[in-house]
Amino acid sequence: MSRRSILAAVVAGALFAIGLAVGGMTDPAKVTGFLDFTGHWDPSLAFVMGGAIAVYAPLHRFVTRRRAPLDAPSFDLPDARRIDRRLVVGAAIFGIGWGIGGYCPGPSLVSLVSAEPATWVFVAAMAVGLALGEWSREATSAPRTDP
């Protein structure tokens, strides 16, 4: 693992953290305000997703025209196409949790280090949830025995 590779990951993590804070994603009240379509709707966060897609979509096309990334033998991108029950049920469960707390994984990690217990509790529970989810993926993705 080259030093350049680690430095790139650190820079990417830093840009991501700054982007979330600048965009307002680290304020759960702003997040639930965005999700509150029938009340005091605050559309600001739509611009965060819009801005991210506007920058990433062309760059993704440009970068994946290369034969390989700079510090890995090949691109490792998801190739699943099927919209299955697991995708929909998982996304619904994720959405309910996001609506309750106002935190999704990125902002909760950026907000983690604090004197208050809230983000520690959320991230600890999220780690347990991720492990349970991983376990359930492994348990249910066993090869099908039926033809």
């Binding site: 759960p28 991210a52 990433y56 993704h60 919209i83 996304a91």
Partner: protein
């Protein structure tokens, strides 16, 4: 809905902050793709780090996210709000977010930003479903819970 006129909604929108913040997130994901060839999906990277898979670049990315977050929280505290949810509810929320993101193969970053940018049908469906579920949850808490 009629109690909140369009101009009032517009007056609350922070377009510039949203676009700049979003642009930085898009740039971050592009750097990660260029160097490491992977989607910058936080839940997937976080899960990989927790499983101690020894992918140094993933540990560096998540570590930097947390460390720079700590620095930002110290330098710019007003960017960080607190959740309206109680601690037990936050524990439930964290459990659902982690479990749902893993089962659904991604979260706001992996599906909402990277997958949508790639035009992945799975990510478009996942994003619509989690936004819908989150909006219904916020509605239920605001209207029925309070």
């Amino acid at each position: 809905m009629d109690a909140y006129p369009f101009w009032w909604i517009l007056s609350r929108v922070d377009v510039a902050r949203g676009l700049v913040g979003g642009g930085l997130i898009g740039l971050s994901a592009a750097v990660f793709l260029l160097f490491h060839g992977e989607i910058a999906g936080i839940s997937g990277l976080c899960s990989s780090v927790l499983q101690r898979t020894r992918h140094v670049h993933r540990i560096a990315f998540i570590g930097s996210l947390v460390a720079v977050g700590a620095l930002l929280r110290w330098l710019w505290p007003s960017a960080f709000g607190s959740s309206a949810a109680s601690l037990p509810l936050l524990a439930v929320a964290g459990l659902l977010v982690g479990f749902g993101a893993r089962v659904g193969s991604g979260c706001t970053s992996g599906h909402g930003v990277c997958g949508m940018s790639r035009g992945s049908p799975r990510s478009i469906v996942a994003t619509l479903v989690f936004m819908g579920a989150a909006a219904v949850t916020v509605f239920a808490i605001r209207r029925l819970g309070a």
